[in-house]
Symmetry: C2
Subunit: 388 residues, 2 copies
Amino acid sequence: MQILQQTFQVPYTYSIFFTKRLFDVANDTLRSFFGSFSQAGFQRKVLIAIDGGFLAHHPQLQEEINHYFSSLEDLVKLVPQLVVLPGGEAAKNDPALFDELVEAIDNYGIDRHSFVIGIGGGAILDLVGYAAAVSHRGVKHIRIPTTVLSQNDSGVGVKNGINYRGKKNFLGTFAPPVAVFNDLTFLQTLDDRDWRGGIAEAIKVALIKDQSFFEWIEVNAEALAQRNEEVMAYLIHRCAEMHVEHIRSGDPFEFGSSRPLDFGHWAAHKLEYLTDFQVRHGEAVAIGIALDCVYSVKVGKLTDAELQRILTVIQKLGFDLYHPKLAENDKINLRNGLQEFREHLGGRLTIMLLDRIGKGVEVHEMDANLIAESVDYLEGHYANLMVG
Amino acid sequence: MQILQQTFQVPYTYSIFFTKRLFDVANDTLRSFFGSFSQAGFQRKVLIAIDGGFLAHHPQLQEEINHYFSSLEDLVKLVPQLVVLPGGEAAKNDPALFDELVEAIDNYGIDRHSFVIGIGGGAILDLVGYAAAVSHRGVKHIRIPTTVLSQNDSGVGVKNGINYRGKKNFLGTFAPPVAVFNDLTFLQTLDDRDWRGGIAEAIKVALIKDQSFFEWIEVNAEALAQRNEEVMAYLIHRCAEMHVEHIRSGDPFEFGSSRPLDFGHWAAHKLEYLTDFQVRHGEAVAIGIALDCVYSVKVGKLTDAELQRILTVIQKLGFDLYHPKLAENDKINLRNGLQEFREHLGGRLTIMLLDRIGKGVEVHEMDANLIAESVDYLEGHYANLMVG
C-alpha cells in the first residue's frame, strides 16, 4: 500500500475597525479598506444585505450608502439592489432568505473577488455570511454589526450559519470575514433590551478569563445601564479583543475538542428555544451564566461571596436571573438542552464552569439534581425579588 | 479610530491511501485509520453515502461494508442506513439529494467528531462533501473515489459543491477530507469511457508541469487504452501526487488570483453543459486540451511538432478531439464559456496555455478569432479522420 500525505496551512487575516459614522463621506475607513484591494484590470463589485428593522430606524441610511459608494466608483461598484432582510432569529429559520441572497449574488455577478456586506444584528450576519461563504465557494464577506452583541462577540468571530428544522446553526461554515466595521453610532437606536443584551457576553468572557475586566464592569455597571456610549465603546473593544485572541490562540475552526467561548450557553440556547426566542440571546446568556455560577458553587468551585458579586452585577445591569421556563416539565427540558449542546459541538460533553472570578474550568459531566437545585436557587432569588 | 488585527493559520492534514479490496476484512487500512481517531469517552459514528450506479455493479458491497464495520465496533459505529444516491452530474443538480444527506446527518446524530463517507465518482463526492462540510459547520469527511477521474484528481483535492440554476459548482466550499482511500479494484467495473476519462486529467497535469510524465504517457498509451491495471495504478498515483503538490504549494483555498489546475477546462465546462453532460468531464477536458494546444500554437508558443505529439496521444487513448457543439451558434457559446469561466473564478480572466510540453503559461486574454480558427482546425482534423 502506498500513502500520499497532504499537509498545508491556510492563512487568514482580517481587521476589526472601530469607528463612528461609517457612511459619512468624511469618514475614509471604508475608502482606504477598498483601496487596499485595488488591482488593475477589473473593478470589484459590492452587494449589500441589510436588516430591515435596523434600516427602519435609520431611514436616511440607504441614501447615505449610495452617496458614499458613488464616491468610491474608482475602487468598487455597488450593485443597484439593496437586499433588505427581516431581522432577528426568524431570518435564520427561513430558507427562502438564503435563496434570495444566493440569487442576488448570482444575478449581479458577484464573484470570489467581489464583496458581500452584511449590515445588521448577529442573526443577519450569520445568514448573510453563510450565503457568501458557500457561493462560488466563498465570496469576500464584510460584516457591519449593528448591535452590542454582534459588535463584541459573534460579528468579530469566524462562524456563520442558519437554522435547520428548528436546530440552531445546523447549517453553516467557519469562514472569517475580510473585515469588520464596528460603528458606535449605530447602537444609539437600539432598544434597552438589545443595548443590555450584548453586555452578557462581556460578563461571560470576563468571568472565565479576566478578573480585572470583571471588576471594571462592576465599577461601570451603572454607567452601562444608563447608556454611556464611551463606557460601552471600551466594553465592546475589550470584549472583541478577548474574543479575537481566544480564536487565534485556540483551534479557530474547532476541529478538535477545544471549545468556543460558551460559558453559560448550554442553558441559554435551550431557554431561547423554549421561549420561542422571546427571551433574547443576551438575556438568556445572563440567566445561563447565573445558573452555571450557582452550580459552580454547589460543586465547591466558586465561593458564595463571588457568586453574590456576580449576581449583583448581572441584576444591576437590568437582567433577570431567572425565567419560569427553566423549571417547566420538571427540568426535563434543561436536561435535553445539555444533550443537544453536546451533540452540536460533538464528542464528549464539555461544559465550562467557574473556578473563581476570572478563571473558567472545564468539566465533562453535570449532575441533574444539582442543576435542578441551581434552578431552584435562582427561582427563590427571583421570588424574593418579586416579594421585595 | 481603533483597529484590532486578527491573524491565524488553520492547519490541514490528510492522507491518500492507495489500496486494493478496501472492505475485505483482511485489509486493515480502514481499521488502522479509525484506530488513530480512537478516544476514550465516546464512540464516533459513521454514515455512508454511495453512488447507486456503482453499487449496482458491486451487488455484494453492502454486505461487505456491513461485515467490515461489524469488525470495527470497538472503534466506530456504522449507522443502520446506507444512503444510496443516483450517480453522475445529475446528482449535483438535485437539491433534494442535498436535503436527504443533511437529514440523514441530523437523524443519525452525526456530529463534528463523527464521519460521513462518500463512495462514488466525482459528482457524488462533490455532493456528499458539500453536505458534510456545512452540517454542524463541518463533520469529518472521508472520500472513497471509484473512478479514475476522482482517484487522480477531484477526489484527492479540497473542493466540494453542487450546481445551482444550471451553474456548475455555484454552491460549495473548500473543505479538505480527513482521508481519501483509492481502491484500484473499484476501477474494474468502469465502462471504457470512464476508464479513459480520468486519463485526460493526467495529460493535463503532465502538459503543464512535467514533460517526463507526458513522455511516460506517450509510451504507455497503448497499455492504458487496453486497461492495464498496474500501468493505470502508476498514472493515478503520479497524477494525484502532482495535484496534491499543486494545492500545497499554491493557494489551497484560492483566495488570491492563483489558479487551480484548470488547463483545457474553460471550453470543457461549456462543452459539458452544451451537450447536456452527454460528453463526460474527462472527454470534454481532452477536447478542451486539444483546443488550447492548437491555440497555443497559433499565438506562437507551442511548436506544431509538439502539438502533433499531443493530439496523437489523446487520440491513441481513444478520445475525440472535436465535438460539433464547439462550432454551433457561430462560436458564440464558446465565447460565453470564457466569460462564465472568468466569473466563476472571479477577478481578471486567466487562462493557462502551453509554452512547451511540460510548461504551462498564463495569459489574461484570448482572441475570439483565433479561438474560432482553433475550433476550425480541430473540425478539419475530425473531418479528415471521418474520411480517412
